[in-house]
């Protein structure tokens, strides 16, 4: 089993899901940060409030330090209802005046420093572990100024963290619930949106499904802008298919006609020959039959060739081939056959040309052009084949030229001679009418074009002009 085709709907869903998860994850993460920060700030403020109230009630009286702790300081701390609290009031010589005597690692230096920088009672927060629990401490340095001396008093208040954690958890959970709701609602909306956006595609599929196999009329559907090119492409492809089909139909009927006519002639001539008593007459009729069947064979060959070429064009990639070598080969192949008809083939090429092409097809093309020239040449004449480079105004072109001295083609006929089964009305020569049509197809496949000119004094010049390529003079 090969992998199933990717579904746009599923891809969109996965993508939106991914984006939503990333966004919501980020929101949840920042909510957590925010919640912790908010909880820390609010409970730090309580600690500060408590410390300030304590600090206010420490005074110097006649050189004695009087500590009268206010109840409100402890009521403030009690707003964290299930947290333990610790405090210590420390005199100038780091001797504990009241409260806990064993608070851990009181940063006296930091307290002095923040006092110096921020003035009286600048709070300094720090964390520590005391009596088996993590504790948030706040310390200040309060300078007691007496009439003749000043002394540093340190106040440290600490509280365990459960109220903070509780508040942070609560805030976080509150936000998380919103995030989850937002997630669900967004996902639903996006799913609905995706369904809506993809609906025209469904409609398009239905419309195509409902058509009969041979119906190639353009689809006319109201579709979004983004899908219009798709519909256009389908319509264009259908149009091409339609014209191909038409051509094929015409070709088939023409081919049938082209084969049927010589067959009918053959049949009647054979009948005549049967009935003919006169030996010389019969000989003549029989040789005519042979001629007719040769022509028929030629026609069938050409048709098969064309089919082969059509297949090659679709399946064979272009390869680099030497055009001059190919032309010489064809000339060599045909020279004996032409001499039998009293026609001489002359090759005069001075360049070596490499082009990307199909050698079989190109050979076929050159052969058909030369054969055509030989067929229409009179006895004792020459068909000149040449390959050269023309230096044009904007670019160089490789030109394959075939010159004959035959009867020539009138200007009116020139536009028809590449049509399939076209036969010149004043032609005496037997022919299939397919050769040049094939040549033209091959030329088009190689992006080459045909030029027709009259030869002097008479005859036709056929030129195949190839797009510019690398050329080396030989």
């Amino acid at each position: 089993m090969t992998r199933a085709n990717p579904s746009i709907r599923r891809q969109l869903l996965w993508m939106t899901l991914l984006v939503l998860i990333v966004i919501n994850g980020f929101v949840a993460w920042s909510a957590n940060l925010y919640a912790n920060r908010a909880a820390r700030l609010s409970y730090d403020r309580l600690l500060l409030g408590s410390v300030l109230q304590i600090a206010e009630n420490i005074n110097s009286l006649d050189g004695n330090i009087v500590i009268d702790l206010p109840r409100s300081a402890f009521e403030t701390l009690a707003m964290a209802p299930s947290d333990r609290a610790f405090y210590s009031i420390i005199g100038p010589d780091q001797h504990v005046l009241s409260g806990y005597t064993d608070l851990p690692d009181i940063p006296f230096d930091d307290l002095d420093q923040v006092r110096d920088q921020g003035g009286q009672i600048t709070p300094f927060f720090y964390n520590g572990v005391y009596r088996g629990e993590e504790v948030r401490f706040l310390g200040v340095n309060k300078q007691l100024i007496d009439s003749n001396s000043s002394s540093d008093i340190y106040i440290v208040v600490g509280q365990t963290l459960s109220a903070r954690q509780e508040l942070a958890k609560e805030t976080n959970w509150f936000v998380l619930r919103f995030v989850m709701l937002f997630f669900a609602v967004t996902l639903l909306l996006l799913m609905f949106g995706i369904w809506r956006v993809l609906r025209p595609l469904q409609r398009l599929r239905k419309a195509i499904d409902e058509r009969s196999a041979l119906e190639l009329k353009p689809l006319i559907l109201p579709v979004p802008k983004e899908i219009t090119p798709l519909v256009n492409a389908i319509n264009r492809s259908n149009t091409q298919l339609n014209s191909t089909l038409e051509r094929l139909k015409r070709f088939t009927s023409e081919a049938a006609h082209q084969i049927r006519t010589p067959l009918a002639g053959l049949s009647s001539q054979a009948q005549n020959a049967l009935d003919e008593k006169d030996e010389t007459q019969r000989q003549q009729q029989l040789s005519h039959i042979v001629e007719c069947s040769n022509l028929l064979r030629e026609t069938v060959n050409q048709l098969l060739n064309q089919a082969t070429l059509a297949h090659r064009f679709q399946s064979q990639p272009l390869k680099s081939i030497s055009l001059d070598r190919l032309t010489k080969e064809v000339c060599r192949d045909l020279v004996v056959w032409a001499l039998q008809k009293g026609v001489e083939i002359e090759y005069s090429g001075k360049v070596e040309v490499e082009i990307d092409g199909d050698d079989f097809a190109l050979k076929q093309m050159i052969r058909n052009i030369i054969e055509n020239a030989v067929n229409y040449s009179s006895r004792q004449s020459v068909v000149e084949v040449s390959l050269h480079v023309e230096h044009g105004k904007s670019r160089d072109e490789v030109v394959l030229r075939v010159k004959d001295q035959g009867i020539g083609v009138s200007d009116e006929e020139k536009q028809h001679i590449f049509e399939r089964f076209y036969r010149s009305p004043n032609s005496q020569q037997p022919g299939t009418g397919i050769g040049l049509a094939i040549a033209k197809e091959v030329a088009e496949h190689h992006h080459a074009s045909f030029r027709l000119r009259d030869n002097t004094p008479r005859g036709l010049i056929v030129e195949v002009v190839f797009p510019p390529v690398e050329v080396t003079a030989s």
Binding site: V66, I67, D68, L69, R71, A73, F74, E75, L77, A78, P81, S82, R84, A85, F86, Y87, I89, L97, S98, G99, R131, G132, E133
Partner: protein, 362 residues
């Protein structure tokens, strides 16, 4: 508002009648002796500042249900209990019972208690427990006990203002006739007095009046009540309500007054020390104490007032803890209690006390 104290007194009365009817004859010590023989049993050591006579009915009911447990109870003065606990880390009990909320709270705040929660502790109102470590099991109104012989027809004082007026009227008659708990040697005495100092507008005048009349100091409510009965004193200030009420049943001329300006309510609290060697037994006992049965026993067989308001009243004790009236002022079970344990604050209070009562420092 006048009706509320009456209602409260009615409850107290009901409690005391219960005590008279159902008091068991078993003494905790006797039970202990019996239980020691049980070699397979476990032990439970309780230190408490609760009168042995008062709590024994609860002990015996507990032991009836758990005969395998050998219960050892040691009674202390509340301040001694605190100091003993700190000074003897090797002899820590399995359960601490005390009415000195501030000292109990300090021990818990300092991390000596272990957490415990059960359906019984969860049922306690939040203001009756702290951190699932300290649990209130009984409430204690702080009253003024008055020997009515003193009045000679004058109306019973209902508030501190009226008490001050009475002292002014009787003047010399009350010299050396006022009894106070010694705030320096008893935990509950210091707790209630310092609470008065924070709350009362009459605190200064009371202190002055007590000083002028050379008040006597007592180490506990029971000795104060005995002195009252003997006629040694006429007025006992800040006496424990439960004992006084029980005493007044036997000595009708001694009347407890719940001051109408405010009546301090103290929680009797319990906690299980971290160092407890028999925590399972301690938890069993705590649950029993807080259960409907335990609380009912407090109501019926002791003079203590249950914290839950008795069976069928899960919402706490509205008559005691109701915030709806200003009479009752429970001391909050929270960080505010740290103030009571502050040494500087304590010294300030002692200084005021000493300067008001120069006769005591002789």
């Amino acid at each position: 508002m006048k009706r509320l104290p009456v209602f409260f007194l009615a409850i107290l009365t009901a409690i005391v009648i219960g005590t008279a009817v159902g008091a068991g004859s078993l003494l905790a010590d006797k039970v202990l002796d019996k239980a020691v023989d049980n070699s397979t049993g476990s032990e439970l050591v309780i230190y408490g500042a609760v009168d042995r006579e008062t709590i024994k009915s609860v002990f015996s009911a507990f032991l009836e249900r758990h005969p395998q447990i050998a219960l050892k109870y040691r009674e202390f003065n509340s301040l001694d209990l605190y100091q003993y606990f700190l000074e003897h880390p090797d002899e820590r009990p399995d359960l601490m019972l005390s009415s000195a909320m501030d000292l109990q709270f300090k021990l818990v705040n300092d991390g000596y208690a272990q957490r415990y929660s059960s359906e019984h502790t969860d049922r306690l109102p939040t203001r009756s427990k702290w951190r699932d470590e300290l649990f209130g099991y009984a409430v204690e109104p702080i009253v003024i006990a008055i020997n009515t012989d003193l009045l000679a027809g004058a109306p019973l004082p209902q508030s501190r203002e009226q008490l001050l007026a009475l002292i002014r009227n009787k003047d010399h008659l009350l010299d050396e006739k006022i009894g106070l708990p010694d705030i320096k040697s008893t935990g509950i005495g210091y707790l209630t007095w310092s609470y008065d100092s924070q709350l009362s507008r009459t605190y200064e005048r009371l202190l002055e009046a007590f000083g002028i009349h050379h008040s006597r100091l007592y180490s506990d409510t029971r000795s104060m009540l005995r002195a009252l009965t003997r006629g040694e004193i006429f007025i006992a200030y800040n006496a424990l309500g439960s004992y006084t009420q029980a005493w007044s049943q036997e000595h009708p001329w001694i009347v407890p007054v719940l001051p109408t300006d405010y009546t301090t309510i103290v929680l009797r609290t319990a906690f299980i020390p971290k160092a407890s060697r028999n925590p399972a037994e301690a938890k069993t006992f705590l649950d029993f104490l807080l259960s409907d049965i335990g609380q009912q026993l407090l109501t019926e067989h002791s003079s203590l007032i249950p914290v839950s308001g008795g069976p069928g009243n899960d919402s706490g004790s509205p008559t005691l803890f109701g915030a709806s009236h200003s009479l009752l002022r429970p001391i909050p079970l929270g960080l505010e209690l740290l103030l009571q344990t502050d040494t500087a604050k304590r010294q300030l209070l002692f200084d005021e006390w000493d300067s008001a009562m120069p006769h005591l420092s002789k």
